[in-house]
């Protein structure tokens, strides 16, 4: 198992939006998916995930609804809204630029 990385601040929103872009998920699902996608390299801190979810919900980027899970439990599912999709694009672009600049500087230095 590779060494686990703490998430860079500000990147959690982008990751959550990205994950939700593929379809609705509950909080636990988001945690799992992120760990899975990063091949367990990322450890999502619940202490930041839920406040981030509520914050994004308040901003109108995502919407929540209570639904049944496959094994018949009630869980809160989050979906991306139109504003959320737009936000995802913006943040994605921002991240691309930031990482490009970072790479450029780090490579040439």
């Amino acid at each position: 198992m590779a060494e686990k990385l703490e998430l860079l601040s500000g990147t959690l929103d982008l990751l959550v939006l990205r994950v939700l872009n593929r379809g609705e998920l509950h909080g636990w699902g988001i945690t799992n998916r992120l760990e899975q996608l990063s091949k367990k390299a990322l450890q999502v801190d619940e202490g930041s995930l839920y406040p981030a979810l509520y914050r994004m919900e308040a901003k109108g980027w995502i919407e929540a609804a209570w639904k049944q899970t496959e094994n018949n439990r009630r869980a809160k599912y989050y979906t991306l809204t139109r504003t959320g999709r737009k936000q995802l694009e913006t943040e994605q672009k921002l991240w691309d630029r930031t990482s490009a600049i970072m790479a450029m500087v780090l490579d040439s230095a």
């Binding site: 509950h26 909080g27 636990w28 945690t31 801190d45 619940e46 202490g47 839920y50 406040p51 509520y54 914050r55 919900e57 308040a58 109108g60 209570w66 439990r73 009630r74 869980a75 809160k76 809204t81 504003t83």
Partner: protein, 884 residues
């Protein structure tokens, strides 16, 4: 999401808060269970898995709090917490809290009570619809800025006023009122033009208004009564409309009752009966007897300036046409809402507001001092918190909340006080008939109190809080316990507060003292008369029973005979006026063998018609010549007595006795001779007469149906003969109302009741200001002493005596009080000038009063300093130093 959605979302969240909390808990539980299941899959036992999951999840409580922040309930929650904390903090120091709330309550209470009065008098428009269109029409003459109109002038004015709008006239006249078969009572009555209520737009509560044709003599026996009259005199009986009463002995039908809102005492005074003005031919042509007042409602399309100009032009025309009466008079309009209170009254009201503001300021600086002291004792805590990274806002917030809570509590306390004050004021301003000034806590007053509380809290709560912020963290923490002395800045700030308090307190004290003494002088004035052992009362002879001068004179003669024969009575008289109240009868004269001055500039005098014994009864001295006697009758030569002022003004150094006068304005001059000179008399009330010349003529030569009876007692207290006087008059004519029969002293005090209310208010302000300022200086000295106990201990250890320490403390307090008083002197002199200007008839002895007030203030300040200073000397050096 647009703004509306965002708002809806937010509000929805807010209202669904409880459910959201439950959902959040459920969601997190779900997460935990999933995680535990995950761990269990890795081979942990169920309990271990749950524990691990919880460990991994972290502090659920903190998490939920962060979530709540994200939802935006944070501020509400924080406010609730802050308020809760503030209340707990305040409860921990009940002494401080009690003092602050009381201080604020007194300050704002005094202010709110004052504002409620000013509001009732000045700000509320008169209770007539569209009262802004209403004017009072004034005829300004050289002798009287508010002269009345003659019937002929009024009719002419009315005929030509279509361009102005609508005019109505009224005439106030005292009458007797009686139910059939019952003894008559005295009533304040008026005659009004039939359109009077229609013009004011006052709908009748019961019955009907006057009809066309009821302003003709003979058909005018109809009367509309006020609601108070209906309640007081007729017990509010349901069948009042159509009921018949006798007014001045003649039967009248009551046709209507006015609504309660009609007269709140600010415009017409306590009038009870309204009858139509009815002129016969002779009266309608009368240009000489000016008795009518005129009101108008401007047409909507005419501006106030245009209206005034129009009326002025009409007046100028009349002055040219009929110069005998109108020469030298100009006409103008005054907005009716502005006539409620005159210029002096307005000044007085502003002064009251300012003075109550002073009380509030003194209260506020006390509060600021208290809060500052509290903040300084917590300086270490603040410094520590600041060092640990608390932001300015976080430090300030609890302080601001605390002062807000204090202000609200103080505001509530103030409302209670204002309520009580209003009760008292309503009681004091209620007149004999139950008419009262309507002072109420309306929205404006509430808004004022609320605003005052908030402004107070913000200013005087923030000032100390900002001081706390300026604390230097390092120094405060390093200086340890001594950090609590507060820096030089704090000392200076406190000293400025104390100096300001004393300056304001001196202004209050000087103003109040001046007014108290001025009113005392007015109430005990003996200016050309003697109110000791004197009873006065008014009598109105009904026209039906006493239609002519003979009958009236007959009654006066008989009544005086009876009164003079009563045991304990030295002498009795009748007159149109008492010497201590204003004389309203202004007349112009022609002096024989003199070139007549231009019209409108004739010598004028206020006239009192008196019976022979008048001068002896009221105690006005005859300086030279003779008094009136029994031989001055309706048929003998007309005679006059003039006052000393009149004599000098009209005749200079010449002896006035023997000169002949006649009343001007008549076609046939009726000459009379001056037979005596009387001492000047000065009223004991606020007398607005411009005319200072006084003139007397015998009652018998021009009898008046309404007279003031005066009875001088000898050897017995005047109150003891009151009943026998009343009985004697009733025995003479049971149908005769005697009004306000009381001792002269009592009636003077009663007449000055408004000034007495003012005196009470000013006195209360001064007392409040003085106690608050003393409390302030006491507190500051006590605190300084506590802080300097170490220094004192060292001084004592080095050999200082107890006396030295006491003197040290005393001097520092006295310095503050002295500087404050010096600053306050300027204000005190200013306010004395204001009061003197506002009450030209009152005599104020301002210089000694101000000096006295200053000395009193300094004495009280010294006492307030001496109490703690005494303890300073007794400091136990060892103990104080060990505590360090």
């Amino acid at each position: 999401m647009n703004l509306f959605h965002r708002l809806a979302h937010y509000l929805g969240k807010l209202t669904r808060r409880r459910r959201a909390e439950a959902e959040m808990a459920e969601e997190m539980k779900f997460h935990l269970e999933q995680r535990a299941a995950d761990y269990a899959g890795d081979g942990l036992s169920a309990a271990e898995a749950r524990q691990a999951a919880r460990r991994r999840f972290g502090n659920a409580g903190a998490l939920q709090e962060q979530a709540r922040d994200a939802w935006g309930w944070g501020w509400l929650e924080r406010l609730g917490k802050d308020v809760h904390l503030a209340i707990r903090q305040l409860a921990r120091s009940p002494g401080f809290t009690f003092l602050s709330v009381l201080t604020l309550g007194l300050g704002i209470g005094a202010n709110t009570a004052t504002f409620s009065i000013v509001n009732a008098i000045m700000f509320k428009p008169l209770p007539y619809p569209d009262s802004g269109q209403l004017d009072r029409i004034d005829r300004v003459t050289s002798q009287n800025p508010q002269a009345r109109f003659s019937p002929a002038d009024w009719l002419e004015l009315q005929r030509n006023a279509d361009r102005y709008g609508e005019l109505a006239a009224y005439w106030v006249v005292d009458t007797s009122l009686a139910d059939p078969g019952q003894p008559a009572e005295f009533a304040r009555a008026s005659r009004i033009s039939p359109n009077f209520f229609a013009m004011l737009r006052v709908p009748l509560a019961q019955g009907r208004d006057f009809r066309a044709g009821e302003d003709v003599p003979g058909r005018d026996r109809v009367v509309i009564i006020s609601r108070l009259c209906w309640l007081n005199r007729f017990g509010g009986r349901a069948d009042i409309v159509g009921h018949r009463v006798r007014i001045d002995g003649e039967s009248h039908e009551i046709i209507g009752v006015l609504p309660a809102s009609f007269n709140d005492g600010r415009h017409l005074g306590p009038l009870e009966l309204f009858r139509p003005l009815a002129f016969d031919h002779a009266k309608a042509a009368d240009r000489r007897s000016t008795s009518l007042r005129v009101l108008g409602r401007r047409a909507p399309n005419i501006s106030p300036t245009e209206a005034s100009a129009f009326i002025a032009t009409l007046g100028a025309g009349l002055a040219q046409e009929f110069p005998e009466v109108n020469a030298g008079s100009t006409w103008r309009t005054v907005p009716l809402n502005r006539t409620v209170i005159d210029e002096n009254g307005r000044v007085m009201m502003s002064m009251l507001i300012a003075l109550s503001g002073f009380v509030l300021l003194i209260a506020c600086s006390n509060l600021a001092n208290l809060l500052l002291a509290r903040t300084i004792t917590r300086a270490r805590e603040f410094a520590l918190r600041s060092a640990l990274g608390a932001s300015r806002l976080q430090l300030l917030r609890p302080l601001i909340t605390e002062s807000l809570v204090l202000a609200l509590a103080g505001g509530a306390c103030a409302m209670l006080l204002a309520w009580w004050a209003m009760d008292y004021l309503t009681q004091r301003t209620t007149d004999d008939n139950g008419a009262k000034m309507l002072i109420s806590l309306d929205g404006r007053v509430l808004a004022w109190a609320f605003a005052a509380s908030l402004v107070t809290a913000m200013t005087f709560g923030l000032a100390p809080a900002l001081f706390a912020l300026r604390l230097n963290v390092n120094n405060t923490l390093k200086s340890g316990a001594r950090g609590a002395t507060g820096g030089r800045g704090h000392q200076r700030f406190r000293q400025i507060l104390i100096v300001g308090q004393f300056a304001l307190a001196l202004v209050l004290l000087a103003g109040a003292a001046l007014f108290v003494r001025g009113l005392d002088e007015l109430n005990s004035r003996r200016a050309g008369w003697d109110s000791e052992h004197l009873i006065t009362g008014s009598v109105v002879l009904p026209t039906a029973a006493y239609p002519d001068a003979d009958r009236i004179n007959g009654f006066h003669r008989l009544a005086l005979e009876r009164l003079q024969s009563l045991p304990g009575v030295a002498s009795a008289s009748v007159s149109t006026y008492t010497p201590f109240f204003q004389w309203f009868d202004v007349r112009k004269y022609v002096i024989q063998n003199r070139t007549a001055p231009p019209r409108g500039r004739e010598p004028a005098a206020v006239v009192n018609r008196v019976s022979a014994e008048y001068f002896a009864t009221v105690g006005t001295r005859i300086v030279s010549g003779r008094s009136f006697n029994e031989r001055d009758t309706a048929t003998s030569t007309k005679v006059f007595i003039v006052s000393q002022t009149t004599a000098t003004a009209w005749f200079g150094k010449e002896n006035p006795i023997g000169h002949r006068l006649a009343r001007s304005g008549t076609d046939e001059l009726a000459w009379g001779e001056i037979i005596g000179v009387a001492a000047d008399v000065k009223a004991a009330v606020d007398d607005s007469n411009v005319v200072k010349s006084q003139l007397y003529q015998p009652m018998a030569q021009e009898a008046n149906p309404r007279v003031e009876i005066a009875v001088r007692t000898a050897g017995v207290a005047p109150a003891a003969v009151l009943e026998s006087v009343r009985a004697a008059l009733t025995a003479l004519d049971p149908d005769l109302p005697v009004r306000s029969l009381q001792t002269a002293g009592a009636s003077i005090v009663r007449a000055n009741y408004q000034l007495a209310v003012l005196r009470d208010l000013l006195g209360t302000f001064a007392l409040l200001g003085l106690s608050l300022a003393s409390l302030g200086i006491y507190g500051v000295i006590t605190r300084t002493m506590a802080q300097r106990s170490g220094e004192f201990a060292i001084r004592v250890a080095l050999g200082a005596c107890v006396r030295d320490i006491t003197r040290l403390v005393l001097t520092s307090g006295a310095k503050l009080a002295l500087v404050g008083s010096t600053v306050g002197l300027v204000g005190a002199i200013g306010i004395s000038q204001l009061i003197i200007a506002a009450f030209p008839t009152m005599r104020f002895n301002s210089a000694p009063t101000i000096v006295g007030a200053t000395l009193l203030l300094i004495a009280i300040a010294l006492l307030a300093c001496w109490l703690p200073a005494r303890r300073a000397g007794k400091v136990d050096a060892m103990q104080a130093l060990r505590a360090e």
